[in-house]
């Protein structure tokens, strides 16, 4: 077995753009669930909307800052639409509505009626919207090797994207860290623990929940942009499974912590890569086909999610006493 190649692949996952994108999405979800206790099962919908908003407006000829602004605006509107009917109701209504709304985004995006805009189920090619982001890169053309890792400087799955992606993750971590200690963050945590108590103190719970939903959704939409920059916008690859991986990442790392989502994302993708590459080496292809190994990896993720929630709901970094996940 070629351990050097396997370990290089696994270590590469630790700082891959996809890992950064999932970490960002999990940070957004952390604001929803970890801080406020909102059950958002539509994080992939925010990501897909962000991706569409960015890609479609770039293809329409907008500069990059405007395209990002469009993506953010899409997610703000989406959060408002989701929040207005559900934030006054019990928690699991929000779960059902968010998962349904994310599906609506995907179904409408992949519909043949919108082929001109979204490319229907085959999606939008990466080349059609990457140019503005790559033009910002100060690294120039060519590729650079750093130890065993060799990536291109600016195009697609590049060093430039890694730098920007992880800078955004760091910024989001600082934001969450400040929020956790701000009066605003304390109100959110109060809502998570006992909504009625906060209401009796004269706080507008509905408005606070809405602010949290919008903020987490905006971070989710930026995660969506990072996610699609090295690949294509493909509605079917950003469906419910994506939301569930984000949840697994958050619960693995530890909800209501600053670094939980980041650690969770790194461990999730590195371990998944380790399992898959080792199985590809060990198991002959006559026993398991390549896609079966892929599916086996996801089965392990599903089982992990179940076991985590039952036996260690606080995850790797969390504090069991702080986080009492339950429906109010």
């Amino acid at each position: 077995m070629d351990w050097e190649r396997i370990l290089t692949l696994v270590a590469g996952e630790l700082f891959a753009p996809t890992t950064a994108a999932y970490a960002l999405a999990a940070i957004g979800l952390n604001i929803h669930f970890g801080l406020t206790g909102l059950l958002n099962f539509g994080q992939a919908g925010f990501m897909l909307l962000g991706a569409y908003g960015f890609a479609v407006s770039t293809i329409a000829g907008y500069p990059i800052w405007l395209a990002v602004l469009v993506a953010v605006a899409c997610s703000v509107i989406f959060a408002l639409i989701l929040g207005i009917p559900t934030l006054k109701l019990r928690g699991d209504y929000l779960a059902i509505v968010t998962i349904a709304a994310a599906e609506i985004v995907r179904i409408v995006g992949r519909s043949t009626a919108l082929t001109d805009v979204t490319g229907a189920s085959s999606g939008l090619r990466g080349d059609s919207y990457k140019a503005t982001f790559q033009a910002l890169s100060p690294l120039g053309d060519g590729s650079t090797a750093l130890g065993p890792f060799s990536y291109s400087n600016s195009s697609s799955n590049s060093w430039w994207l890694r730098i920007v992606g992880w800078l955004l993750v760091a910024l989001a971590c600082v934001l969450v860290w400040r929020l956790l200690r701000s009066p605003w963050g304390r109100v959110l945590k109060g809502i998570r623990e006992d909504e009625d108590a906060v209401r009796s103190l004269g706080k507008n719970v509905y408005s606070y929940k809405m602010q949290a939903l919008v903020l987490g959704g905006v971070i989710g939409s930026i995660a969506g942009i990072i996610y699609v920059l090295p690949r294509a916008v493909q509605p079917d690859s950003m469906g419910r499974p994506m939301t569930f991986w984000v949840w697994t990442i958050l619960l693995l790392g530890g909800a209501a912590t600053v670094f939980g989502p980041v650690i969770g994302s790194m461990v999730f993708w590195a371990v998944l890569m380790l399992i898959k590459t080792v199985m590809r080496e060990v198991v002959p292809s006559t026993v398991l086909r390549a896609e079966q190994i892929e599916q086996f990896g996801w089965i392990i993720v599903g089982v992990t999610l179940m076991l985590l929630v039952i036996f260690r709901p606080q995850g790797m970094l969390g504090d069991k006493k702080e986080l009492a996940i339950n429906v109010r």
Binding site: P85, D92, V97, A100, S237, M306, V309, N326
Partner: protein, 475 residues
């Protein structure tokens, strides 16, 4: 705070439900009058003000004309047969506008040829007088719906080849069509399709609602119980080779057993540990993910056809419906009637509703709550399995993601009817079925599930307790 079923609360409600059941049975028992059969014609067809043509050209995967392939066209103008000519062309004149179902007899295809998209046979075309409607059947290797792998593998630049899609979302169901104008015949056709779809959906959602009512759990893995039923039916008909009725019965029995085992192995112990409802909800999601990939692992990501023969259609007035759908409708109505009788008229059924109303009080008055919950899981999973078998037949194929696609429609139905009320789920499902199929008249068919989900959001906005729910439990 417990939610309550309101089954006994309003006699009006029960009357409505019984009326709906009676209407469904009536449709089943209605006369089965086949349309007049016209003589087979192979003359070339020219459209004029009184006739229209349905035509097509069949080419093999190598591009050669496919000669002598038999096709059958059924619709308002009667039934006609045609075979493709030496140039692979076929055409048929019809003298009445409307929807025609074109069925290609796969046995008559040239040796080694298959349909590229078996789910697209039979296909429906809309014909207007003076026009030509094309019904194309591409030949080649079948391309089943590929899985949205959902992962972050392959950081490729180009989008992967267009993936297929989801059962029921991308395949048109026989007897339904999209696009075109709105006329009464089409409305009737879509409404009947909606009624069938809604009734089959109700089988799945009643179980979801009962489980929510008795345990308070929103079971996101209920869709996989539906997939399980469909896949088991596929296993026993196609892999074991049993007749459909027997394998369907085995599938339902095994699905019910899976519900019993699931409660014994997972949910019962979790209730004992007093694991919170949100945690249990996330566990159901983990279970759903696990089961989806287990199905994919063993049966692949393509679609699985439970039966290979093509269903025969019958005409009821302006409505075209397959015999299979009529029989499914009958079975579903009987099963739902049985469950209703059980809940309303038997002692155990009353105990179930008592647990649903208030488990603590039910336990205090001597009802074995755990036993009732176990039974509800068994019945719910069995009904979902039956729904999966029938839905797999109705949609022409089942697949690993059939249930998860339907899950949100079930939730929409259950929420619309009032979470936790069994009869609400039934009424909600029929409304959702009608909405899904009727919305086909005005929006593209691959968006039709989105319409039902929009209703879900609107219901929560204006009447969060649903049609039959009680207002006070919300909030």
């Amino acid at each position: 705070m417990r939610r309550a079923t309101s089954m006994d609360r309003s006699p009006l409600t029960r009357a409505t439900v019984l009326a709906a059941l009676a209407a469904m049975l009536g449709l089943v028992l209605a006369t089965v009058g086949p349309g007049g059969t016209a003589a087979a014609q192979t003359v070339a067809c020219a459209p004029d003000s009184g006739t229209a043509c349905i035509t097509g050209t069949l080419r093999t995967s190598a591009g050669q004309p496919a000669v002598g392939v038999a096709l059958e066209v059924a619709g308002p103008g009667g039934e006609q047969q045609v075979t493709s000519g030496p140039d692979g062309r076929w055409s048929l004149p019809v003298t009445e506008a409307g929807q025609y179902t074109v069925t290609l007899d796969e046995a008559t295809l040239p040796a080694g040829e298959t349909l590229r998209d078996p789910a697209n046979n039979p296909r429906t075309v809309t014909v207007s007088l003076g026009g030509v409607a094309a019904a194309l059947f591409p030949l080649g290797t079948p391309t089943g719906p590929a899985a949205p792998s959902g992962g972050a593998t392959g950081d490729g630049d180009a989008p992967p080849p267009a993936t297929g899609g989801e059962p029921g979302l991308d395949n048109t169901v026989p007897g339904t069509a999209s696009g075109g104008g709105v006329n009464w015949d089409r409305v009737a056709q879509q409404a009947s399709a909606g009624l069938v779809f809604g009734t089959l959906l109700a089988l799945a959602s009643v179980g979801l609602s009962l489980i929510f009512g008795t345990t308070g759990l929103s079971n996101f893995a209920h869709g996989e119980q539906v997939s399980l039923g469909g896949i088991l039916a596929y296993v026993f008909t196609q892999l074991v080779g049993l007749p459909l009725l027997v394998s369907g019965a085995i599938a339902v029995a095994l699905a019910a057993a899976s519900g019993y085992l699931q409660d014994a192995a997972i949910w019962g112990p979790l209730r004992k540990r007093r694991v919170g409802m949100t945690q249990q909800l996330i566990v159901t999601i983990g279970l759903a993910v696990t089961l989806q990939y287990v199905f994919q692992f063993f049966f692949g990501a393509g679609s699985l056809r439970i039966v290979r023969s093509n269903p025969e259609t019958v005409a009821l007035g302006p409505i075209l419906i397959t015999q299979q759908s009529l029989i499914s409708l009958g079975i579903a109505a009987a099963a739902l009637g049985g469950v209703s009788y059980f809940l309303v008229a038997t002692r155990v059924g009353r105990a179930t509703r008592a647990v649903s109303d208030n488990p603590a009080l039910a336990a205090a008055s001597g009802i074995g709550v755990d036993g009732i919950v176990r039974m509800v899981w068994t019945i719910g999973a069995g009904l979902a399995g039956l729904g999966g078998v029938l839905m797999g037949l109705y949609l022409n194929a089942t697949a690993w993601n059939m249930g998860s696609t339907l899950l949100l429609l079930m939730f929409a139905a259950v929420t619309l009817g009032g979470l936790g009320t069994a009869f609400g789920a039934l009424a909600g499902s029929i409304v959702i079925g009608l909405v899904v199929e009727l919305s086909n008249l005005v929006i593209p068919s691959d968006m039709r599930y989105a319409g039902a989900l929009v209703i879900l959001i609107l219901v929560l906005l204006f009447r969060p307790q649903g049609i039959l729910g009680r207002a006070e439990r919300v909030g």
